[in-house]
Symmetry: C2
Subunit: 458 residues, 2 copies
């Protein structure tokens, strides 16, 4: 894996924030509300039919927080709004993030009510970064979670990211390539992602290539001459005739040396049936080593179905489905104040369950498998034999050594996390019983006490 | 509207392309396939329950094409792959887009089979830009179409973009603010979008603000002191008590001068019922002018329902739903070769309907309302009284004067397009009969001739 040739991230703007963050911060400043706040970023419920969330985006958040600042031109623009006091603008111009941050390592599996990121910082700092943190953790966890399900469904067969064209902008395409790679994709078609992240790049031909030639035979022959051991797309005209042309091409190969073709790709029609028919033709010609790849609106359900039917498909290309995750296009992530000035805080609504105070999540393991999680107050005694999932990544505004893994390390972490999921949770279908996440007695007691106090007093 | 303070677009990389585009281009280069190709970018079918697509992204595509080039570092990285012939890399380094482009003006309503963009350029150029064009037109048309439905449902009431936190990356958040503004949103919470595009910015407070204070009364009072005529979020503890506190605050106002509060916002619970109760309390206190805004998982269906029930809501904040468009997270846009070297081309598959050759779309109008569209071969005679929708925007690689409207002009164009939709298509529900799009006899005849020829010969 080569090192990325350029910085893997474009500088992110502190101005990717909502106006209301600055409106609130102006009042915090006027009221000298400078004490430490604890905010936690978590989701309340899994999307329908989902068994877990594979969290991603922490890497970008850590880089953003440790480098947080407004550019001069941004302050000038804020000034042009004629809205904020000048001393506040000057404060913003020199504002840096000075707090502590705890996070689940990127590529960790998470369940409802488990903070993916916990920010402990002076109120203004912790408030201003809300929009960015939610933006990155939400969108990248949507991508990584969908990709994990698809990779699990492929059951060891390589899955390639073909989704750049359907992703949301350049950011979306880069995040898709990176998140799907973390989730176990074999590589991406996206060259920009290949350059920025060092992800293996893949891809050979589209239908337009074949159409641009007078006939398919010549299109194939010229392609193989340039790119021996390639993958030929065989369904532009007639899939099985396409396969026959591939066989003829290989048989006409003068050899020895590289075979002209190593795989064919099916991109339309009844993929299972066509894969069987293609396999038969290839095998009958003694070409058992030529692999069959499939693409065309694939997702975890369709891949699982094809493999259940025994379709002889050796690898998959996935595009739209993991670029936008249509079955769960959003996850209900929120960023909630849980403590301020040493006092626990919460939104007092009995139907939207949250718990006050800073938290830690403890995961119990048995023989390499996740057994259940417990959300506790951060100051509760460790649970013996369990793992504390939230790790320190930033201290006093400084990134800690080891806070960022390499992409390969993050991918390996995700692989182990997915492998440790109970088997029922690794299936596309919703598990009969969800993963166990319990709330500690202390948190429940704190919540009840707060609800009584707030609803009576306020 | 102030001019954007910075260039409204970050430079886009020509490397946002799929490896297969370069793999194919290498062969085109080797085979001296330098003739002009015509590619068309269109969708085959509307997403389920949708009546139209509001196209967006053309502006970025036009900027990208007219400035198309690989950076030196990108060529170096491609060289490091040890994959492409050196003469081809040198060709890429100096490659510019020299073709002609026709497009629907950004903010135009489109229907199935109607090209949003048509590229006529030497084959290599037209092939390499596929990924970028699809990426921008697809994602931004998804955003604009959802936003248009939501704005139509709000029936003249202002709708604010609160979606930056749930959008896909910075690009996604910027595109959401811009596309929703084109579709008629009143403004955005996203400051980066405000600075880049000059879109009005909006937003006052979150629950965390209220929670950070000892009590709601003080939180409100301090906020109004800083921001007179503000919007107060009243549902942190108990919505109706929150409304009573707002009334007390206004009544305690020494006046004359600005009122401390101009609106309240509801963000949880039964929005319709709470709006009625809040309205009654406000009106009883003589505060008929205080507006009621609502947010919380709103979409076009929910907004239409609230208004059908007569809920006294004066404006809406929308976030997640138009950031990811969960009910139609993708549209089946494709970029297809329709002509090469002066000959029509198509993918020969009877189940996936496409028509060969370069096209034009003619729209007929009656008293300011769209009556039906006809997709014709580009060289067919004009249809009298109809409008040719595809307009030239780039000629010989150069952007034409008037190819890009200002954001306000694009918004006004979209407003007129949406106003001209037949009434049934403006509703959230699927219209009983879809908008009429017919295919010209010449295109049908060309298609049948090609199918016969290809399926026989190839």
């Amino acid at each position: 894996m080569p090192e990325p040739a350029l910085s893997p991230h474009r500088p992110a703007s502190a101005l990717l924030t909502d106006l209301y963050e600055l409106s609130m911060a102006t009042v915090y400043d006027a009221e000298a509300m400078e004490e430490e706040a604890v905010f936690e970023l978590f989701f309340r419920e899994l999307p329908a039919h989902r068994n877990f969330v594979l969290t991603a985006g922490q890497d970008e958040c850590i880089r953003f927080l440790s480098g947080f600042h407004f550019h001069e031109g941004e302050i000038d623009w804020l000034r042009s709004l004629d809205r904020f006091p000048e001393h506040f603008l000057r404060r913003l111009a020199s504002l840096r993030f000075t707090g502590d941050v705890y996070a689940l390592p990127e590529g960790s599996v998470a369940f409802p009510m488990e903070p993916a990121i916990q920010v402990r910082a002076p109120l203004i700092e912790a408030q201003l970064v809300e929009t960015f943190l939610l933006n990155r953790i939400h969108s990248q966890s949507v991508l990584a979670s969908k990709a994990a399900r698809i990779v699990l469904a492929a059951d060891g067969r390589p899955v390639m990211d073909f989704g750049a064209r359907k992703a949301h902008g350049s950011d979306g395409a880069l995040a898709l390539a990176r998140c799907s790679y973390i989730a176990g994709a074999a590589g991406t078609s996206n060259l920009e992602a290949g350059m920025r992240y060092g992800i293996p790049v893949m891809g050979t031909m589209a239908h337009s290539y074949v159409q641009a030639f007078e006939d398919e035979e010549r299109a194939f022959e010229r392609f193989c001459r340039q790119w021996p051991e390639t993958t030929l797309l065989v369904d532009t005209w007639d899939t099985l005739r396409g396969v026959e042309r591939v066989i003829a091409l290989i048989q006409a190969h003068p050899g020895p040396g590289k075979l002209p073709v190593s795989a064919i790709r099916l991109d339309s029609g009844d993929l299972g049936k066509l894969a069987w028919q293609a396999r038969e033709k290839l095998d009958a010609a003694g070409l058992e080593d030529i692999r069959i790849l499939a693409s065309s609106s694939l997702n975890e359900y369709r891949i699982a179905e094809l493999l259940r039917e025994g379709a002889p498909i050796d690898g998959f290309g996935v595009g739209t489905e993991w670029a936008v995750s249509p079955d769960a296009a959003d996850i209900d992530f929120a960023y909630k104040l849980s403590e301020f000035a040493g006092e626990p805080r919460m939104k007092a609504s009995r139907d939207k369950a949250t718990w006050p105070g800073a938290k830690q999540v403890w995961r119990s393991w048995h023989r390499g498998s996740m057994q259940g999680d417990r959300v506790c107050a951060a100051d509760e005694a460790p649970i013996k034999g369990s793992e504390a999932l939230l790790k320190p990544v930033i201290e006093g505004g400084e990134r800690l050594a080891g806070a960022l893994g390499t992409l390969e390390e993050t991918r390996e972490h995700a692989r182990k996390q997915l492998a440790a999921l109970p088997e029922a949770l690794r299936q596309p279908e919703q598990a009969a019983s969800p993963y166990s996440v319990s709330i500690s007695k202390q948190l429940e007691a704190d919540k009840e006490a707060m609800l009584r106090r707030y609803l009576d007093e306020r």
